[in-house]
């Protein structure tokens, strides 16, 4: 079955090991949530998968629909169908959302083929309407001067435009008020289907009320310490991360 398959992944930042034998299999068509306290390595996982060069892979393998992901350039991973909605999307001054997405769409086409402008804008405007984004945003520089919520919405817009096979959403809920959260969740739910696998990284259970996951994984100190159905998120919410450190983590180590 097609999947994003992470096997025994070990990642260091500098000399410091962050991910320790991390394994997770995300079948296409499913939505999995990763929950864990701050500093446990969730963003490290996301960026290492996307190919950020600060994150050194010291062991393990990752397969995207059977293809080796590690070792590829970030843009090659994107073209294979991986998408990362960043926890902290950065500003790209002078590059408008429309031009950026057009260039990114163009990059996915074979040599000599051009993005059709009319269809492109039609699609872009449609997705923006779905996310209740003002169309004026297309001309604005990417993320420049955007509020936290606007940036997150813009990440989802990019995801909807680029139609990945696997999307990692790194704390997309943080910085969103409840209305924005609902809109973003609606956008993701629209994309849900047999052609998309989603890894939702979150700190809180709240988002999972709107994007209901097929599976929940609890992460602690660079690895998954417990996996379960969506009810695991409620259990975690009720018992708190203390429960993870005191009960789950020690038993997982043995």
């Amino acid at each position: 079955m097609p999947s994003l398959d992470i096997r025994n992944l070990c990642v260091s930042i500098g000399e410091k090991p962050i991910l320790k034998d991390f394994s997770l299999s995300l079948p296409k068509g499913e939505v999995h949530a990763i929950m864990g306290p701050n500093g446990t390595g969730k963003s490290t996982l996301a960026k290492a998968l996307a190919g950020h060069e600060d994150y050194t892979i010291t062991g393990g393998e990752v397969f995207l629909d059977g293809e080796l992901l590690l070792g590829l350039e970030p843009e090659a991973r994107a073209k294979l169908g991986l998408f990362l909605a960043f926890q902290y999307p950065c500003e790209i001054p002078g590059v408008s959302i429309a031009n950026f997405l057009r260039a990114a769409s163009q990059a996915r086409l074979p040599e000599g083929q051009e993005v059709a402008a009319v269809e492109f804008y039609k699609k872009l405007h449609g997705k923006m309407d779905a996310l209740k984004m003002d169309r004026k945003f297309t001309a604005r520089s990417l993320n420049e001067g955007f509020s936290g919520g606007e940036r997150k919405r813009c990440e989802i817009l990019q995801m909807m435009m680029l139609e990945p096979k696997y999307a990692i959403m790194d704390e997309t809920d943080s910085g969103l008020d409840i209305d924005a959260l609902k809109i973003v969740a609606q956008g993701v739910n629209l994309m849900r289907g047999p052609e998309l696998g989603v890894l939702v990284i979150t700190h809180y259970q709240r988002l999972l009320d709107y994007i209901v996951p097929d599976k929940v994984h609890v992460m602690w100190d660079g690895r998954i310490v417990k996996s379960g159905g969506k009810e695991l998120a409620f259990e975690l919410e009720a018992k708190g991360y203390d429960w993870v450190s005191k009960e789950l983590a020690p038993s997982a180590k043995n």
Partner: protein, 468 residues
């Protein structure tokens, strides 16, 4: 962006060279005999030869300007350069008459094609002399003159001599003196009263020989109410040793005239490009420099306008891209010398990798003038942390009712931003091009269409080269 993949420049378009035999060669080194050789080959009038000899003395008496400019200038060894090389060709009027090897070069650079598409006239210079020169027939009927300096000073002395060396005196700086001693090639243009040349005239300067110095000289005179746009392009192959390009360009806009001078410079990495450019704007005239510098080892160039007549306007729009191993030392000069004159400077520099950009500005509005305005905007973009940028805006504005506006900004494209763009599927080069184009976009919108397309393409090539 990792260090290894940063910047190996490869502007492949200009990097090729066909074997060439030179019938005329002034030899290596610079002596009075070199000047005589050039004057001889060209059959110049005694006053021109005299002008050259005087210039040589001034050149020798002036120190290298390393007290304010980079020490890298000391790497130029004037005794190892060849000052004049040509096949003895007269500029042909058809491409078929151009010697085959030279024609091949210009075809590869796309010059005949551009001529067909959108130019009113073309001059193509190969080392020291033009190989091709042609203007649309209609224009010569209107009295437009478009020739090289040899022909200009010989056949149209009464038109060109009064302005020759007047906007930029020989002694202006060491390199204007050098050019005045050994100049060869370039364009002498005269547009008669009221004639508006709709399509651009273009000159293309090609350096083909190693250890060579190219010293073209350009003088453009737009008579009252006349209008003209001139474009220059340049390339050279990559040589092991340094090559020198040192031009002097003088513009004269008489009452109500408009001159637009556009440069697309795409030098290879070992060219010292030391150019003096200045315009003299009479009453209600307008001079606009659009100057885009890509490539070269060191470019020093500060196009200027002397605003001599009431309500004259001067403008410099410049873009400099300094990649690894390059130093773009560019800027603008606006000398206000009459009431109600206005000037505008917009300078954008991009430094990539170890590339270094310097902006030097000079704006003078003396006390006795009224209602003069200057606007200066300098923006720098740094792509990765090693790049260096310096700004030296010298703005002297005195007197009441004169105004000046000055803005400067520095922005950075970090490794994080590049990664963000790559994570969406853009290559590193595409990500950098997108940032650079975003940065210069509002300026490029002011450029003529053909030029902005060419510029965009050059930037893309440069960025592709920079990531190897």
């Amino acid at each position: 962006m990792d260090q290894a993949t940063q910047l190996e420049i490869d502007r492949e378009k200009g990097n090729f060279r066909y074997e060439t035999d030179y019938a005329f060669d002034a030899g290596v080194g610079l002596r009075p005999a070199t000047v005589d050789y050039i004057a001889e080959v060209k059959g110049e009038a005694p006053w021109v030869r005299e002008f050259r000899h005087k210039a040589l003395k001034i050149f020798e008496s002036k120190p290298m300007p390393t007290h304010w400019a980079t020490k890298d200038l000391e790497a130029i060894d004037f005794s190892k350069i060849r000052y004049y090389l040509s096949q003895g060709q007269k500029p042909s009027r058809t491409w078929d008459e151009v010697p085959a090897d030279i024609k091949k070069t210009f075809e590869r650079l796309g010059i005949p094609e551009q001529e067909r598409k959108f130019l009113a006239g073309v001059e193509a210079q190969f080392d020291s002399e033009a190989a091709y020169s042609r203007m649309k027939e209609g224009l010569s009927k209107l009295g437009v003159i478009f020739v090289g300096p040899t022909e200009g000073l010989k056949e149209h002395e009464e038109i060109f001599r009064p302005w020759f060396g007047k906007v930029i005196p020989t002694s202006d700086n060491k390199f204007s003196a050098l050019n005045s001693a050994v100049f060869s090639g370039g364009s002498f243009i005269y547009v008669p009263k009221g004639v508006k040349v709709k399509q651009p005239l273009q000159a293309y300067f090609r350096i083909n020989a190693e250890n060579f110095g190219q010293f073209e000289r350009t003088l453009i005179i737009a008579d009252e109410g006349a209008e003209v746009t001139y474009m220059e392009g340049c390339t050279a192959p990559k040589f092991e040793t340094a090559t020198l390009h040192s031009a002097v360009v003088e513009l004269v806009a008489l009452k109500g005239a408009k001159i637009q001078y556009i440069t697309v410079q795409n030098w290879s990495n070992n060219v010292f490009n030391l150019v003096t450019k200045r315009g003299l704007a009479h009453e209600e005239s307008e001079i606009r420099w659009i100057d885009c510098n890509i490539g070269s080892r060191l470019t020093m160039k500060y196009p200027g306008v002397i605003l001599k007549g009431r309500r004259a306007r001067g403008e410099v729009l410049s873009i400099a891209l300094a990649n690894d191993g390059q130093h773009q030392d560019t800027g603008a000069k606006m000398i206000h010398a009459a009431d109600e004159t206005t000037s505008n400077i917009i300078a954008k520099s991009i430094s990539v990798g170890q590339g270094r950009s310097t902006y030097r500005g000079l704006v003078q509005i003396p006390k006795h003038l009224k209602n003069c305005k200057n606007n200066t905007e300098c923006d720098a973009l740094l792509i990765n942390a090693n790049s260096r940028t310096d700004t030296y805006p010298a703005i002297t504005v005195r007197g009441e009712g004169n105004s000046v506006q000055h803005e400067a900004s520095v922005s950075k494209v970090s490794a994080e931003q590049i990664f963000y763009m790559r994570s969406r599927g853009l290559s590193e080069a595409a990500a950098m091009s997108l940032s650079v184009n975003g940065f210069i976009n509002d300026l490029v919108r002011e450029f003529p269409m053909e030029y902005s397309v060419e510029l965009k393409r050059l930037i893309e090539l440069e960025m592709e080269g920079s990531v190897g």
